[in-house]
Symmetry: C3
Amino acid sequence: MSKFVTNAWYLGAWSSEIGEENLLSRRILDLPIVFFRKRDGSPAALIDRCSHKLAPLSLGKKIGDEVQCGYHGLQFDCTGHCTKVPSQNQIPPTANIRAFPVIERYGAIWIWMGDAAFADETKLIRLEHYGEEGWGIVTGQYIRFDCNYLNITDNLVDPAHTTYVHAATIGSPEGSEVPVKVEQTDDYVLAYRWIKNVPPVPLARKMGNFSENTDRFQYYYLYLPSISCVDFGTMEAGLEPTEENKNTGLRSFSYNFLTPETSDRTHYFWLHIRNYKTGDAEADKDVERLMTATFLEDADILAAVQLQQAETGVREHTKLAIDNAPARVRRLTERMIQAEAPI
Amino acid sequence: MSKFVTNAWYLGAWSSEIGEENLLSRRILDLPIVFFRKRDGSPAALIDRCSHKLAPLSLGKKIGDEVQCGYHGLQFDCTGHCTKVPSQNQIPPTANIRAFPVIERYGAIWIWMGDAAFADETKLIRLEHYGEEGWGIVTGQYIRFDCNYLNITDNLVDPAHTTYVHAATIGSPEGSEVPVKVEQTDDYVLAYRWIKNVPPVPLARKMGNFSENTDRFQYYYLYLPSISCVDFGTMEAGLEPTEENKNTGLRSFSYNFLTPETSDRTHYFWLHIRNYKTGDAEADKDVERLMTATFLEDADILAAVQLQQAETGVREHTKLAIDNAPARVRRLTERMIQAEAPI
Amino acid sequence: MSKFVTNAWYLGAWSSEIGEENLLSRRILDLPIVFFRKRDGSPAALIDRCSHKLAPLSLGKKIGDEVQCGYHGLQFDCTGHCTKVPSQNQIPPTANIRAFPVIERYGAIWIWMGDAAFADETKLIRLEHYGEEGWGIVTGQYIRFDCNYLNITDNLVDPAHTTYVHAATIGSPEGSEVPVKVEQTDDYVLAYRWIKNVPPVPLARKMGNFSENTDRFQYYYLYLPSISCVDFGTMEAGLEPTEENKNTGLRSFSYNFLTPETSDRTHYFWLHIRNYKTGDAEADKDVERLMTATFLEDADILAAVQLQQAETGVREHTKLAIDNAPARVRRLTERMIQAEAPI
């Protein structure tokens, strides 16, 4: 049985990574993929192996809308169809290779690794307030994690680790005892908490112009199988928690797109949307620095955890209350993988 | 069956490696260990894996006499008892982890990797003349060997290799044909030889003030499973070989403490005790340099031997007379390992 | 069953690699070999493992015509006979080690890895025009390929790859559609083509002084199991293709000697013989640079192919017409390996 959900849109590359001429090679769900663009700019993705002797096509070059293998010159179009074999007229059907559905949105190329028949664009996640007036974006970031993607999803619905792993960045001891509520649907697991009627933190005071006490909220969404959205906000204390009211204060959506590279390595793409200091390049840089430092803290501890798990064959030795949301994510993911397995 | 004797005191770390705040991680008998000190200075050792998700505790920090995991803040005392789990009051018994008996002596932390019920302090080796008036010490040295510890014990009861491996350092062709006698008890294997009535070597002439010919002795003790003591001396020729007479000339005890890291890596700690030029920092440096150069010669050849053994699955192809003492060490060690195995 | 043909002369080292005193260690057909010279200059080759504890003999030193192990001083003559064991008079027969037939010719040491009874000097390849008046040599080159030797022999009888892999060096689009003929004997597979009655290429025009159109020939010989000779030439158009006429124009023999290191690494030795600009050091340098650049292009693509093959367990997914000669080489090599296998 596969270790991955294949019928899902994964972020394969930032749009800026694929220019007019280059061929981008990237391993996704343990398969080598080559990304490129046709002359009209639209993206394409093929298995990064020639059908002849398995040379990586990414070592070849683009010829019009096609990719030419750098070994013997076989050519493939964006559907994986082999259109040319040097020195012979007839092209054997075994020369065709696998192509993958891709779409471009939100400054990224999204790839569907499973059954192409199910590659429905409407299944792509919708990013809140992306590109809207009054909202700014820090986009296009990437970190590689040396661990299984589920060790990362654990963290992304687990506020408990922030006090310890992120003591030097975003963690704070206060609030660590405020209980976390957990909900789930077929699409996501949500862990969230409200810290009500407290003075604004210094940053919020400075940027939000709050006169009185504030209510703070933290919503950790994990869209299955592996896209995280962390919705943080600070608003005047006592307001009804409607979407509209939430946007009256300071609010940010931190998106993390996990794309498994192998079973023990993960591509971690992220972008950040906020409703304050928009268009402020210095503030953008601050967010980028803080987020990068924070995610590297995760990457360090999770790489160490991965090594211990690999050595012992044990993933966790004792279960704790804080594992509620992570355990749900794992359970639902497991169910999705099983649903894809041949009967 | 284990490849190691577990019921033994192994040198885990030099005392100087563990300060007030740091957590020292070291793999011993293929287990990750974290060493630290309590506030009263006494040492402690735990398995270096949190009971929750197996994060190395050495990535966390000390809180009073306890270790706090850097992932979710679980806390453990020096007995391995879990004393705190964030966000929950009840601590499951599965949260406890393994602690290891340790004692501090001779400037080192000694760890007992086997059944704690047998961790008797009196079983710790006694170092000859350590700290005594008239005897000086070069202490606190460490080299990692990329080979199984038994390949090193082979060398440490084998005078025959010194002529070839140590030609550039301590080896000499003379004496290479003087036969070696071998004895054994339950505690040690001893290979030794006397070179009688010969002129002192230049170094001995200079330092020992010998008027006449000398008797030279070399005793290679291997205390099972893996502590070596090399007792070298030069004395006036013809004296009775009593302990007292042996100390009238030049004498040194070179101790080598082997602590298996894995089955193909070994921590090699050593210290050196001598009755000449005591308190002479320059002479100390000379000993340190000579010993380090000598042991690196061993490390080089043994790493090459280890690779060939691993490739072929063969440890030795032909048995020679010089293998007498090494073979005894291996046989006795094997017997100790078997005695520990569950029936 | 072995993955290699053992009953063959392999190029083990360039003569210049083995001086009077040094011991050269090199892995050949997945065995460690130590090469050295006796005092009369004649070469010798032994397994690079002492019979005692398997220490590499190449870490020892030469004593007269023998090799002394650097661990305990065992000595071996060039037949693998153990002549000395320190501290004992009787030498057990198990102390002897394997020796390999070697001969020195063409500036190289050739080694026979199979049954010594078949090590017939007449089976060594004869190099065309080597050392003859009017012919110059670029000799003594070496590149390591990170792939199985059969992936390299594929290339060496496959003109089709040159257009793509060697676009920056020796490849040219013209002629890529001229069909290749293939012949085979028990000794070699030959792929060749003539490009008739075409203007000389710029280099040929400059060096060959051709007045009219030329005929160009390319003969790719693969002497089994793994020596390649590429015979290239340009001559006046319309001449009979006799050996004599072929030598009237520009002609070169490019020899490539593949010696498997392991199943996924290959020693690639090469030399180059030509009948133009002989004795011209600058021209020699040009050939060396061009050939090195060309073979590194092969090494790059083949290392990538090897990784894909290793990952998938598939060597080729679809068969093409251009695989004719490579497939014959593989078939004949397989037959040679099977013929060596014990019944």
